[in-house]
Amino acid sequence: MWIRSLQALNLARQARKAAILATDLDGQGEQVILEGEPVADPLADAATIAFMTGKASIVDIAGRQLFLNVYLPPPRMVVIGAVHISQALARMAPVAGYDLTIIDPRTAFATPERFADVDLVPEWPEEALARRPLDPYTALVALTHDPKIDDFAILDGLRRKCFYVGALGSRKTHAKRIDRLTRSGLGEDEIARIAAPIGLDIGAASPAEIAVAILAQVVQAFRRREMTGSPT
């Protein structure tokens, strides 16, 4: 491996950008591909599949054996609202491989007692998300149904191309939310990206069951996501 390839890979990984290292197994060179970058044709399809699946594999390209190693940022989940469902999600998400952060400015909800060993940020989403920005490998889960807290985070999640943006609330609550978001300039396509009512339809009733439905929907969104990276 060339040192400049290694440096490029490490930079991409630190910036939570997906990257592929394509290595010719006969020692005929290598290439770093960043997600969203145009890829020359014989390699384009294989690179797309590799970014989608996140799986490393050997491919035959024009008679050459290339090993495509994929480096995807670890997916994570940002939850708005330190509510009952979040307590269940905080236990389940790490089991599924997701780091989780909970943001809630209401300090009565966001207490260490209710969320032991959880990355809990008792701030407004405007502040918390400025310091630790959302990105395409983050799922944004809005659970307060308070527009003052949820709306900014939902807008920010769509703008920063989170692979999943879900919002809790009845159809009626969501209809009002759509009105507000439309007034703030959001288009139909973007609004359609919001998962609402939140969670896969498994008839979930308790907070823990709703957490299962949300987590399953997040996993589905990640595994079936389209490439979201923009050219850099």
Binding site: M1, W2, I3, L6, Q7, L9, N10, R13, T23, L25, G27, G54, K55, A56, S57, I58, F67, N69, V70, Y71, L72, P73, P74, P75, G97
Partner: protein
């Protein structure tokens, strides 16, 4: 889902290189059966045999590390295969019954 963390082999390889140490990078490129580490996993080795990361559950690291000295000396990459079907199995077999191919190259 990733190797992110304090003991990230690729971060360590870059740091070792910056210190002027010779480095080899081993990568699992193919697995059959129940291999302990998936394709893409890294083990990095320096010229003194210090290492970080893994390509198996500890079964074949010793063999990879001793090959690394050669790769560092010559600069020629090589591909190693380990598994129960391999003639080296009695020496460094994978107890899990899987087979893995490991690509080993010098960082430079």
């Amino acid at each position: 889902m990733s190797d992110a963390g304090a003991l990230d082999p690729l971060e360590i390889a870059e740091a070792w290189h910056a210190e002027g140490r010779a480095v080899a990078i081993a990568t699992v490129i193919q697995t059959w059966g129940s291999a302990p580490r998936p394709a893409g996993s890294h083990l990095v080795i320096d010229g003194d045999g210090n290492f970080e990361g893994s390509v198996s559950g500890g079964c074949v690291e010793g063999a990879v590390i001793s090959e690394a000295a050669d790769v560092i000396a010559t600069g020629h990459p090589r591909t190693l295969e380990f598994g129960v079907a391999d003639e080296t199995a009695w020496r460094v077999g994978l107890s899990c019954g899987g087979t893995i191919r490991v690509h080993l190259e010098r960082l430079g």
